[in-house]
Symmetry: C2
């Protein structure tokens, strides 16, 4: 994947490529709706295609077909394939972050961690393609989102790790390495989307049901809580 040289400005990443010039004075509101709907359709289609084929394997023609639009329209809303890919990634990242709210010093470890795991698993079940696009980007060295990982994500994990260490100091749980704990939770939940063929094959099913996700969630919550020395019953 040779997208490392990507350097377009941020506003080009959200489909505003041509808009800056087009929005002379007061544009009719109807046009805005058309644009928003088209952009939403394209992003949805792109997420699916990028998830299945990766960046290089996906073609603009495939995405256009999935979005029910002529290929040229994609290039109208997103100047390049890389810009479209970035927009899909940005959307995914926005989903990924706001899940850690429950991890606060004044919360109980058992409920906070259990809720976090449940939220992560739920996100995996409801947005498997987003998870796959993200995984693909990681696999190939995170050329697009390396900066985000080192800034926003690191800051967030640093903060939440302190909370977990605080809990351990209070004797509410074992002294674990909080960062590696996060790696385990992320990996164990996202694997149900990223490695779905393997999971399905081993379970002998064509696809995962709601019951499968519930079973996986329940077991993982129990494993993590008990493994961290958190007494959840009482």
């Amino acid at each position: 994947m040779r997208v490392t040289e990507f350097s377009a400005r941020a506003d080009a990443l959200r489909g505003n490529a041509h808009r800056a010039g087009a929005a002379v004075a007061a544009a009719p509101r109807r046009k805005e709706h058309i644009r928003d709907a088209a952009v939403a359709d394209i992003l949805r289609a792109a997420e699916r295609v990028f998830a299945r084929a990766g960046f290089s394997g996906a073609t603009m023609a495939e995405i256009a077909e999935a979005a029910n639009l002529p290929k040229a329209n994609l290039h109208y809303y997103f100047r390049t394939k890389v810009a479209l890919y970035r927009a899909v990634l940005d959307h995914t990242l926005s989903l990924w972050l706001a899940q850690t709210d429950g991890i606060r010093r004044d919360a109980a470890p058992a409920t906070a961690l259990a809720e976090y795991i449940r939220a992560k698993m739920h996100l995996t079940a409801t947005h498997p393609d987003a998870s796959r696009v993200f995984a693909n980007e990681m696999l190939h060295g995170a050329p697009q989102i390396g900066g985000y990982l080192r800034r926003e994500l690191k800051a967030l994990v640093d903060e939440k790790s302190q909370v977990i260490e605080h809990w351990a100091t209070l004797g509410l749980m074992d002294h674990v390495d909080a960062r590696h704990l996060f790696f385990t939770i992320w990996a164990s939940t996202q694997t149900y989307a990223d490695f779905q063929p393997q999971v399905c094959a081993v379970l002998g099913k064509a696809k995962l049901t709601r019951a499968d996700y519930e079973r996986a969630t329940k077991q993982l919550v129990r494993l993590i809580l008990k493994g961290c020395g958190i007494n959840s019953k009482v």
Copy 2:
């Protein structure tokens, strides 16, 4: 990735494409060595390139350069790009399997599971590119190795799951869902290769050291054993 229509015969997958015709009677042994060395070089280079770029993103030219060979030689040893990719995958799969030997009814759960986790983590640390090629194949729906997953892998996991259930019946550990336990172990170890950029970013390091892997292994072993109710300290 449009490799689903792949249907070459098995012997073409191992670089024997032209050999059947070339090996008229007794071929000189030196030639064999040249071939073996070239094939090994190509496979090594291909693994690296496929891991970094995925199937579609990788180019035969890149692989040729990495293997220090002209591009046409790749097509001599492996008729097509897909055949080369399959060969890399096959090599990876052979690494993946033989790690479960220690999980036997007569073994102690604590040592057997701990050793299994350590072995998996060691494989991740020493063959990160193999892990990434495998992950990439999973992400894209496992078009090449779906059959392997449903046959060999499922059979293996079914067998080992019975062992774990047997241990639980004996009261040596909790009753856990063995299949989901395997998913957690696989995901938690492979994430250090597949999601390495994320791990490095969060830890604030440029690359993972031996000490990082040891720390990760130690924590994961403790988490899993304790989480499964296995008393490892007598």
